[in-house]
């Protein structure tokens, strides 16, 4: 019935009709341009935020479970997590030995201090960790080396510097082999870590000094218990098993009666990842929903202008019908015109959306990620808007009576 040539002719006629009233066409298109542009830019922002969160979560390390000491209640006053001091070095060692699926364990204590090196000084956090810590966090040494098990056993006066701390204390020379003073204790710098950047909570992860946990407990924190224990499961599938194993072990070691609460708590990185991803996904969906409203408004604009166009061109419709156009031919003509309008707007909208996302990244330093998928979907959606909102006017045109249409002034 119909061949390609005919579609081409109709398409040509559609673009001619659109060119006839340039200002009107551009204004109508603007609705779609803004709509599609907004959707693309907003989804780009959402995806950018999501990608950033994901990369930060990955930076936490893989398959990591953090075991915290529980809260303690003294006369109705609760300390925060880690305050109870229920986790011991022996707990950590037992985990490594007895819980199946555990690939690495690092006991952790924290304190803060003013650190001095020559004429420079810097206040930072001191993390007492096990040898396995860098493996668990997937953190690499940039220069020098990590301390050893022997250093841990001997509570040796050695440390590894985070990138920020290293830069502050040794702005010019190489810190490896130098000595720094923490609370007046001279500590030998064994290595410098690679930069890891900000954590997902915004703190600078490189602003730190890592010392053996034995050294940290004895010399700096002055404690005999641990703040937390970092545990790594061998595979993601073993996470739950390892978590259950740890709980069982600790309840047994801490002699907690069945039915009583744990005196420790666990967090794993998947939970954090899920929460954060869910947050950014909600944000993306919200942004896209708001942007879609403008696409809807654009669609209504198209319907409005197509209705005007059908009325204006009643006589043309009459002529076409008189020379043998079927209702379907007229329907198709106006539908193609509406789709040409909306998809041209869609194309321009994609350009402005991609440009807008780039601009936002430039001005506000927000990461944006415009995926090819969102471009394809946005374009298909704009064409669909044309079909949806163009259908009613086109149908109205196709149902005109040729005699009335020809007589229309």
């Amino acid at each position: 019935m119909m061949n390609d040539m005919r579609y081409f002719v109709i398409l040509k006629a559609a673009f001619r009709a659109l060119r006839r009233n340039k200002l009107r066409t551009v204004l109508t298109m603007l609705g779609i341009i803004i709509g599609v542009g907004a959707v693309i830019a907003m989804v780009g922002i959402g995806n950018g935020a999501k990608a950033q969160v994901q990369s930060r979560i990955a930076a936490l390390g893989q398959n990591v479970i953090m075991v915290f000491s529980g809260s303690v209640n003294r006369g109705g006053v609760y300390s925060g997590f880690g305050g109870a001091g229920t986790l011991t070095v022996d707990d950590a060692l037992a985990m490594e030995k007895e819980v199946p699926g555990v690939s690495a364990v690092s006991p952790e204590v924290r304190s803060g201090a003013q650190i001095m090196a020559g004429n420079n000084n810097w206040s930072t956090s001191i993390m007492g960790e096990g040898v396995g810590y860098l493996t668990i966090r997937q953190w690499d040494i940039e220069d020098g080396m990590m301390f050893t098990d022997a250093d841990v056993r001997a509570a040796a006066k050695v440390c590894v510097l985070g990138k920020t701390t290293a830069d502050k204390l040794f702005p010019e020379d190489d810190p490896v082999g130098k000595t720094i003073r923490i609370k007046n204790v001279p500590m030998k710098v064994l290595g410098v870590l690679k930069a890891k950047g900000a954590s997902m909570f915004g703190s600078d992860q490189d602003d730190t000094v890592i010392v053996p946990y034995t050294t940290g407990m004895k010399r700096f924190a002055g404690v005999t218990t641990l703040r937390s224990i970092n545990v790594q499961a061998a595979t993601a599938e073993q996470m739950a098993e390892v978590q259950n194993g740890i709980a069982e072990l600790l309840r047994q070691r801490h002699r907690i009666q069945p039915g009583r609460d744990d005196d420790f708590m666990m967090r794993n990185q998947q939970e954090i990842a899920e929460t954060m991803s869910a947050t950014t996904e909600v944000m993306t969906a919200l942004l896209a929903a708001i942007a879609s409203v403008s696409l809807l408004v654009g669609g209504i604009g198209i319907m409005n202008i197509m209705l005007v166009s059908v009325t204006e061109r009643t006589r043309e419709i009459g002529i076409r019908m008189a020379v043998g156009a079927r209702g379907r031919d007229i329907l198709l003509q106006f539908l193609i015109e509406a789709v040409a309008l909306s998809s041209t707007g869609g194309l321009l909208g994609i350009l402005s959306g991609v440009g807008g996302a780039k601009l936002i990244t430039m001005i506000k330093q927000w990461p944006t990620l415009v995926s090819p998928n969102s471009i394809i979907i946005a374009f298909a959606f704009s064409a669909a808007v044309g079909v949806f909102f163009g259908f009613y006017p086109a149908r109205k045109a196709s149902q005109l009576d040729p005699i009335d249409a020809l007589r229309y002034e």
Binding site: A322, G324, R326
Partner: protein, 254 residues
């Protein structure tokens, strides 16, 4: 005789509000191949309704209408559109060309809606041939607003011819034209009729009807007169006479 149009007891009633309007009350009429008929009558005589029915733009409420041997009185909207496309060429009083569209593309328009389509090239050839028939082959690229009224009506006639219809249906084709151009256009119709085209023309001007071969007069929805044209005008002669009259008038002025 080979009838192109065969109307039998055609009735058309409009239901507007509470009153039924009987626009056509029993018209029976045969028009043969090669005829040139003027359909005449005052306004309200039912000639426009008759014209719409003959042109397959409207269906009779009662009666039978065969066009070129096909019973069209019971066809649906789409089938009527196809019949209009294949069998009928329309020429209107107001030319009804598509604005901002070249003469050639206007002439090609009916071919756009033909079910069995021609190639783009043969479409073009046909359209150019039709334009040549009305003497406008050299204006194919002109837009309607670049053409005079007479030229526009010629383009409209070419459009009506482009699908090689069995019937040319003209509705007051000279209504918007001056005397000279009117004679000119009637000349085109006479030429087409000489080539064998069947033409039905609605008009209320007697001197225009004089160019046809047969006059059908309607009143109150019925045919009240059906006579051959006795002293038929010839467009070429009339043009000469008009020119001489104008010359004489000029001489008289001097």
């Amino acid at each position: 005789m080979n009838a192109v149009i065969r109307l039998h007891e055609i009735h058309k009633t409009y239901h507007t509000g509470e009153v039924d309007v009987h626009a056509v009350r029993g018209v029976t009429l045969d028009i043969a191949q090669g005829e040139f008929v003027a359909l005449m009558g005052a306004s309200g005589s039912g000639k426009s309704t008759m014209m719409n029915i003959i042109g397959c733009l409207d269906r009779p409420t009662q009666g039978k209408y065969s066009l070129d041997g096909i019973d069209v009185s019971q066809l649906d909207r789409d089938e009527l559109a196809d019949i209009r496309n294949q069998k009928i060429g329309f020429v209107f009083q107001g030319f009804n060309l598509l604005a901002r569209t070249s003469a050639l593309e206007n002439v090609e328009l009916p071919m756009l809606y033909t079910r069995r389509r021609l190639s783009g090239k043969s479409q073009r050839e046909r359209a150019l041939k039709a334009l040549d028939t009305v003497g406008l082959a050299d204006r194919a690229d002109h837009k309607p607003n670049q053409l005079s009224g007479g030229q526009q009506q010629r383009v409209a006639i070419a459009r009506a011819l482009s699908n090689e219809p069995s019937l040319l249906l003209a509705d007051e084709p000279t209504g918007n034209l001056d005397t000279r151009t009117s004679i000119d256009i009637m000349g085109v119709f006479q030429k087409l009729n000489d080539l064998g085209m069947t033409i039905v023309m609605v008009t209320h001007e007697l001197d225009i009807a004089q160019y046809t071969k047969r006059m059908v007069v309607m009143r109150d929805g019925k045919v009240v007169g059906d006579t051959p044209v006795s002293n038929r005008f010839n467009a070429a002669n009339e043009l000469c006479r008009l020119q001489e009259e104008q010359k004489a008038a000029l001489l008289n002025d001097e």
